[in-house]
Symmetry: C2
Subunit: 140 residues, 2 copies
DNA sequence: GTATATATGTGTAGACTGCACATACTATGG
DNA sequence: CCATAGTATGTGCAGTCTACACATATATAC
């Protein structure tokens, strides 16, 4: 009931910042852990993973980016793939998460936790601005 | 001669994940809002900002990266600078946040909030793994 | 004047990713 | 058979971010 409230928060990444260049908080390498998390639930392939990625704010995931990332991930050993041709339609490259991939996910989660604390610091500074303290000083 | 001895704090960011390549959750462009936030409190210059940046996880901020970012920010109009030579030591380029910079910060904060929600989704998926549900299925 | 601390910069290369484009297989309709 | 559309995977290129190494200049202490 209370879970899926991110209905259509998609525009967030589009053009809300107007004229600014990088006014958007997204982590680098976000795509890798998202893919791993999906694969941990069940094995899958690029085309399907693309759809699932939207859950994490990748509104219109670019195919090229995703496939390239998957190949890279395989080269690093955090996923493995085999061709699946035993059905109608074009062949699918089915991906599986490896043990190394699990480890990667754990590292990522730990790092994300720490980063969350950093963000709290940011918000404390951002909102909790004490009046009469930040005007014209030089910092010494 | 004196190299800039930033030797020992580096491992923190470099090798935390062991053999993995990008196992670290940090948003791209993190440095820009951090600088803006610092400048909102009081005007400052590169060398000083470097130290303050450590608060936000830049353990051993690289001078080059910081100075280049500051120049870029000025080109974009979110900060302004003037030389300060009225004291001992090398001249300092003093930076001030502009109105556009304030706006940038607001956009960033909003974006960060949404990103926090995305991270919660991630953790729900990561930790809330129901037993006996994620082993060998193919997704169809 | 040499070393050190302060202060600001450039050059280069690698990584991430958005956009455009290319390829291939299968099913359906004519 | 051929054309077309949907599924599925992939490459090329360019822009951006940033880590690392290196270069420069000023002032103070010795």
């Amino acid at each position: 009931m209370s879970e899926n409230e991110q209905s259509s928060g998609n525009e967030a990444r589009g053009r809300r910042g107007g004229e600014f260049r990088g006014v958007e908080a997204r982590p680098r390498n976000w795509l890798v852990p998202v893919i791993l998390l999906s694969l941990r639930e069940w094995n899958s392939y690029g085309y399907e993973l693309m759809e699932r990625a939207t859950t994490f704010g990748f509104e219109a995931m670019n195919p090229g980016t995703l496939y390239r990332t998957l190949r890279q991930m395989e080269k690093e050993g955090i996923v493995e793939s085999t061709w699946e041709t035993s059905r109608g339609g074009p062949a699918r490259r089915m991906y599986t998460i490896t043990d190394a991939g699990m480890t990667y996910l754990d590292f990522w989660a730990k790092s994300l936790e720490q980063y969350q604390r950093t963000m709290e610091t940011f918000f404390r500074m951002y909102t909790g601005r004490p009046p009469g303290k930040g005007d014209d000083e030089t910092g010494e």
